[in-house]
């Protein structure tokens, strides 16, 4: 670098800095007041932020599997299921008390908000049937007859039907001690277009279903005074019961809205009237439905979200513990309470801004993104500590007053600090490239937070520091000097890192660590590595429920649904049904599969039933009329076939949802499609693979356009709640989309030739996991690559020298790779929720690196020897880096005691990231830099000087 260029460079940046300075330092009170007003405004918005969980946004909708899921959602349902199992401790379910409870629970599930009522299924719903062979034919009907009454005779009949219908293990436990209610949630209300409130669903599940039968106390909510509903339509008397519940709401009662069912005058219907919690009192009585003999197990995404939301308070408490610990350590470190509080204030304000801006942009806080605010806090603390540290240095070493020290610090750190934060911003923004909405939200969230950090740490902090009264500067300086000198021997030892031997040894050790990480990192599981839900503790209520259900039902909760795509009315064709039947058998033979169910499977049973239950006729009939006869008794509500039979679902029940199991499913389906296709084309020379691929594309396009149409209609309905169907059809955009759908259907209709059955993956929960795993697998390294490219560019722009890239990036990359290995060791799976963490944590490491490198390079450039330069760096910025790493590491370590497994895992990962990045920056970076940086040759008699190069 020539002197001239350097000088030009310096003057340019200096000019820029000089231009910005007045904005901060000229009218400090005004600037500060504006910032405070904005903060207050955003604080109000922060308080209004809602939790916003969503199933749809946590799945990669662009993945081909998910397109299949969306295309057949109306026929075969989605993956957002809610399962309620009622298991008796002893005996069988065929008694009055149990069956009454099951019926009541089924009704309660039916009336849950957001429930797709056509998909509620239990022994008490009409879609559960049985077939029985009698002399001269067979008879069938509902498992629980219409004339059901609680008599022993009827219990025997029901038991008989359950056995004959083959429902043992699916609708009842294997030993018939308990039964299951299946249901599915719709995320968007098809009538109003409103999004489902998962927290509410989870509460209702807990209160109305679990509480109803397991709580000894029943809570009745009565009005304190006369009340007229807001629209004046409904009048209530004081003491009138408006709602009931089975869980103790405690302090939450005030904030709960109760739903009173009020008879509409003159009409035979009831309307829900919302009543605020502060208007009611609660009275308790013994719960008449309390049944200690039955345990309730509830599973589903909604329940997981509910449990995570319930733990939010706990998460916040852990954040506070971390904060307070940070503050105390900061106090000990700086030795001045006022100074210790400043970085925390800046960090908290940054989080306020983050939440406020998030709400203003129309987002809510996803329970699975609770980590992001903490990352913001951590990054902010890191920068704040550097700033305060540098400011103290200015006073102690150069004897400046508060204002001058602040200005000097600003001049020295503004560029590097801002570039470090910009690097984070770019890194976090890069994650937006991942096409999963929840990750995109995290990306926006983190980027907003980073932007806020620039404001709080580079504007608020400098202003606040000018106001800090440190008393007599000389006394302050002397005190600092004394405190600092304690660690000088340590810095001396550490500064040896730049000597040849230690540097080489460090680099060699790092190479070994990298090698180990690459090897161990291969064991990193994509997806879940254990049964149950990894976000919750293994012994959490949910995971216990999960195990109970898995153990007691033959057909578990993990379902991989494959859609057999063919032509309309194809289920009457032997050749088509045979392919599907054989597919089911192939899947059954795949390791990890418990059982399979498909239309041909059901058709075989019916065909046998028509033949006096003879097992020799449990086959697919070649005869078309016999086939029709075998299929007719199977209703579309079975979820096995679409109304026109052009699509049939094959249910593959898997033993677990581990990534390896799912991979085998996917491989099995692909293999079958290939071999089956080859057999088909060998027999049917009139079609070939290309024709059938085109046909499939045409078919999938219809699905895509239909989904667009449905989404447009939902949005329209939300905007115009009172719109009629005609209004909707008239909307230009909707009409256009409708035309697309029609055109697509016409296009598909031109493909008249029969193709091999296409087994399309995949729906149901394991189908979603398959898509997510594939997407995560595809993206994990790619994301990191994007983030690194972004950071490399930013680092280069900060220093304009290639040495900076190698020195800063190599330790960072080492930590990223070993993070994968650590995840593998800790058994943390790579999933949607963890995918951004490694990338985000890169952001923590990069500012350590930038601060250390900047100071060291400045010192070397000023003529200090390598060792002196690094000693100086350690004293100036290094100690702040070490302090930040230790402080944040300790703070996050408290998370290991959280009640959320998710937070524990994140805690463990972050402890590693914070400390490993710290070590990387203070041990590895100087070792590498010592080979790359050149010490300025001093002229004889010239003294080394330290000054920022820009």
């Amino acid at each position: 670098m020539s002197e001239n260029n350097d000088a030009a460079h310096m003057s340019r940046t200096t000019k820029m800095l000089r231009a910005i300075e007045p904005l901060i330092y000229a009218k400090r009170w005004l600037t500060m007041s504006i910032l405070l007003v904005i903060t207050a405004f955003l604080f109000v918005h922060m308080l209004l932020i809602r939790t916003d969980a969503g199933f749809d946004k946590s799945i990669p909708l662009e993945h081909p599997y998910m397109k299949v899921l969306k295309q057949y959602m109306a026929d075969f349902g989605g993956a957002n299921t809610v399962l309620v199992a009622l298991i008796q401790k002893d005996g069988n379910i065929y008694n009055e008390k149990y069956l009454t409870e099951l019926k009541q629970a089924t009704d309660e599930v039916f009336f849950l908000p957001g429930i797709d009522r056509s998909r509620v299924s239990s022994l008490f719903t009409p879609d559960v049937r049985y077939i029985e062979v009698v002399e001269g034919g067979f008879k069938g009907g509902n498992v629980i007859p219409a004339e059901y009454a609680p008599t022993q005779e009827m219990f025997d009949i029901v038991r008989d039907h359950v056995n004959k219908g083959g429902h043992v293990g699916r609708y009842t436990t294997k030993d018939q001690r308990g039964a299951m209610i299946f249901s599915e949630l719709l995320e968007v209300d098809p009538v109003t277009g409103e999004k489902l409130d998962y927290g509410n669903v989870a509460h209702m599940l807990e209160d109305r279903i679990r509480g109803r039968f397991t709580s000894k106390i029943k809570y009745t909510y009565k009005l304190k005074a006369d009340y007229t509903s807001e629209d004046g339509k409904y009048k209530f008397k004081a003491g009138e019961a408006v709602d009931e519940g089975f869980t103790d709401l405690g302090w939450k009662q005030r904030f709960t809205t109760f739903n009173a069912l009020k008879q509409v005058e003159g009409e035979d219907k009831k309307e829900i009237v919302p009543i605020k919690g502060n208007l009611v009192t609660v009275s308790t009585e013994a719960n008449p439905q309390y049944n200690p003999d039955v345990e309730i197990h509830i599973l589903g995404f909604a329940k997981v979200v509910g449990d995570v939301i319930d733990a939010t308070l706990q998460v916040v408490v852990f954040f506070l513990i971390t904060l307070i610990m940070t503050m105390i350590l900061l106090w000990l470190y700086i030795g001045n309470f006022k100074l210790a509080v400043l970085p925390l204030i800046c960090s908290l304000v940054a989080v306020v801004w983050e939440f406020g801006l998030l709400r203003l942009l129309g987002f809510g806080l996803d329970p699975f993104a609770i980590l992001v605010p903490f990352l913001i806090l951590a990054v902010s603390v890191s920068h704040g500590v550097q700033y305060v540290n540098a400011w103290v240095g200015e006073i102690a070493e150069n004897g400046r007053n508060s204002f001058d020290a602040s200005l000097q610090t600003w001049r020295r750190l503004a560029i590097y600090g801002t570039m470090a934060i910009m690097t984070d911003v770019v890194g976090f923004a890069t994650i937006y490239l991942i096409p999963i909405d929840i990750i995109r939200e995290m990306s926006i969230n983190a980027t907003l937070g980073m932007a806020a950090i620039i404001v709080t740490n580079k504007i608020m902090m400098p202003i606040m520091l000018t106001w800090v009264d440190i008393g007599d500067p000389k006394v302050f300086a002397a005190k600092q000097e004394k405190r600092d000198s304690i660690f000088d021997p340590v810095w001396h030892v550490l500064s040896n890192m730049v000597n040849f031997k230690p540097a080489v040894i460090t680099i060699v050790i790092c190479s070994f660590i990298l090698g180990w990480s690459l090897w161990k990192g291969k064991e990193l599981q994509v997806g879940d590595s254990q049964a149950g839900v990894p976000e919750l503790l293994p012994d959490s209520r949910f995971n216990k429920d999960f195990r109970e259900v898995t153990n007691n039902f033959a057909i578990g909760v993990d379902i991989f649904k494959v859609v057999a795509e063919t032509d309309a009315d194809a289920c009457t064709k032997y050749t088509v049904m045979e392919q599907i039947d054989r597919f089911g058998w192939h899947m059954q033979n795949t390791a990890g599969v418990q059982s399979t169910i498909s239309l041909p499977w059901a058709g075989r049973q019916v065909n046998s039933a028509f033949s006096e239950a003879s097992p020799k006729f449990k086959v697919l009939p070649r005869n078309k009329y016999a086939m029709v006869q075998s299929i007719t008794p199977i209703p579309t509500s079975s979820g096995l076939l679409s109304p026109n039979c052009s699509a049939m679902a094959v249910f593959v029940f898997t033993k677990d949802h581990r990534a390896a199991t799912i991979e085998r499913m996917v491989e099995g389906v692909n293999k079958f499609n290939t071999t089956n296709g080859a057999e088909f084309y060998a027999d049917n020379k009139d079609v070939d693979a290309k024709y059938c691929a085109d046909k499939l594309t045409a078919r999938r396009n219809i699905g895509g356009t239909r989904a667009d149409l449905a989404e447009a209609v939902d949005k329209y309905k939300k905007r115009h709640p009172d719109a009629s169907d005609e209004d909707i059809a008239k909307d230009a955009r909707i009409a256009g989309l409708q035309k697309n759908v029609d055109d697509g259907a016409a296009k598909l209709a031109t493909f008249v030739k029969e193709c091999p059955v296409n087994f399309a993956m995949a729906t149901a929960n394991v189908g979603v996991m398959a898509a997510t795993n594939e997407e995560v697998h595809r993206l994990e390294k790619l994301t990191l690559l994007y983030v690194y490219i972004a950071i490399v560019i930013c680092v280069y722009l900060s220093f304009f020298e290639w040495q900076s890239i190698l020195s800063i990036m190599l330790p960072l990359a080492l930590v990223s790779w070993s993070a994968y290995a650590v995840m593998a060791v800790l058994g943390i799976g790579m999933k949607v929720a963890t995918l951004p963490v490694v990338a985000l944590a890169v952001g923590i490491g990069v500012d350590y690196g930038i601060y250390i490198y900047a100071t060291m390079a400045d010192a070397v450039n000023g003529g200090f020897s390598m060792k002196e330069a690094y000693y100086k760096t350690l004293k100036m910025t290094g100690k702040a880096v070490i302090f930040t790493g230790i402080t944040l590491g300790l703070g996050v370590a408290t998370w290991l005691f959280s009640g959320l497994q998710f937070q524990r895992d994140m805690g463990a990962l972050l402890v590693f990231m914070f400390t490993a990045n710290m070590f990387g920056a203070i041990l590895v970076l100087p070792a590498i830099a010592s080979f790359l940086l050149k010490v300025k040759q001093l002229a004889p008699g010239e003294k080394p000087v330290f000054k920022p190069r820009h």
């Binding site: 062979v133 034919g137 153990n551 054989r582 097992p615 005869n623």
Partner: protein, 378 residues
């Protein structure tokens, strides 16, 4: 009209329609099994396909799919074959051989470990018989007849006709040359050259009504007996040349029969109906009180003369021919769940075949091959 009769009409009508529209297919296919080499087989099939198109367009405007003569495809070797539906099993003296769904044939030396062997068809196989430890035949859907000459290791196709839409349900050989295969809708064939050629069995007494013929057995005295639908019992005293119908104790389906003494038999069928006598021609039968309404689909005789029947809901019935007492036993399997809870599951799926094995029996059923170690009362 009951559903079952409705079905008979429907199927009969459909079969007639198919016969009318696709008469050529039958003619073409009759030749196919004669071809030994599969290559020749395909060559024969290809021109048939071409010829099919015009004939089908004119004759069967209503039929949506072109009627293509279905070719037999080799069965697929699958890991879970021994746990998939099996329908018949036999002890050759050297090996155990079981047949079942998807053209599967399993062989075993110990009754525990079963190995699937390749077969040329995927059609479900319903019955199997051996005349010695080498020569055996298996029959099944699509009028399939398979033959082995090496004790069950390899199988060759002797007959296949998917367009007939009828299954063979039982097979019996008197010696290595003479044998009978009977099946649905009165289908019955015989061979006198070890299966090289199969001809229609001349037996109007039992075939005229086109009823399902479910089982063919050899009585103690060497007479043949056929049991079938609507209580059909047919007997032949001259190695199957002439047949006569004998008086039946029951009007609904009989799924099988077992020899009793020299001239007698036990017949079993729908809803727990079991009858026994000492002379099938006497016309008088004694009903056995089985205390169940579960249908029986298979039976065998143990070395000590006990008669074993298996059927719906995992029912296994032990009948003492002398006292005519019957008691039932169940196969139990213990399962320990992950939580340590022990569930003793009684097998309740359908059983369709049974043979004596050591102290107990081996059964073939919906869940594959299972073992009942002892016939002692439980």
């Amino acid at each position: 009209m009951t559903m079952k009769h409705k079905k008979k009409l429907l199927v009969a009508g459909a079969a007639a329609a198919m016969l009318a529209t696709a008469g050529w297919v039958l003619a073409e296919d009759a030749a196919a099994p004669a071809a030994d080499a599969p290559v020749a087989d395909e060559a024969a099939a290809a021109p048939a396909d071409d010829a099919a198109a015009p004939a089908e367009e004119t004759a069967a405007a209503e039929a949506e799919a072109p009627v293509v003569a279905a070719k037999p495809r080799p069965s697929e070797i699958m890991p879970l074959a021994s746990r998939s539906p099996m329908l018949g099993l036999v002890n050759t003296g050297k090996h155990l051989v079981a047949v079942g769904d998807r053209g599967q044939i399993l062989v075993s030396n110990n009754g525990r470990n079963w190995a699937q062997v390749p077969t040329p068809v995927r059609s479900p196989l319903t019955a199997v018989t051996f005349v010695d430890d080498k020569n055996g035949w298996a029959v099944g859907h699509d009028a399939t007849i398979l033959h082995t000459a090496d004790g069950g290791k390899s199988w060759e196709l002797q007959n296949f006709n998917a367009e007939l839409e009828k299954p063979y349900l039982s097979v019996r050989f008197l010696d290595a040359n003479t044998g009978f295969a009977i099946g649905a809708y009165g289908m019955a064939s015989k061979t006198s050259d070890g299966g090289k050629t199969w001809t229609d069995l001349d037996a109007p007494a039992i075939r005229a009504d086109e009823l399902h013929l479910n089982d063919i057995i050899k009585l103690g005295n060497g007479n043949l007996l056929v049991a079938g639908e609507q209580g059909t019992i047919g007997v032949s005293a001259d190695n199957g040349n002439t047949w006569e119908k004998v008086n039946s104790p029951y009007e609904a389906s009989l799924f099988g029969a077992l020899p009793v003494g020299e001239k007698g038999a036990l017949v079993y069928g729908l809803r727990g109906n079991v009858f026994i006598n000492n002379d099938v021609r006497s016309g008088s039968w004694t009903k056995i009180d089985t205390k169940t309404v579960d249908t029986f689909f298979g039976g065998t005789t143990t070395a000590d003369g006990k008669l074993i029947l298996v059927g719906l809901s995992g029912t296994i019935l032990v009948v003492d021919a002398a006292t005519k007492d019957a008691r039932s036993v169940k196969i139990r399997k213990d399962e320990v769940t992950a939580s340590g809870r022990r569930i003793t599951d009684v097998v309740t799926s359908t059983l369709s075949g049974v043979i004596p094995f050591k102290e107990g029996v081996l059964v073939a059923g919906d869940e594959g091959i299972q073992t009942l170690a002892s016939l002692q009362a439980q």
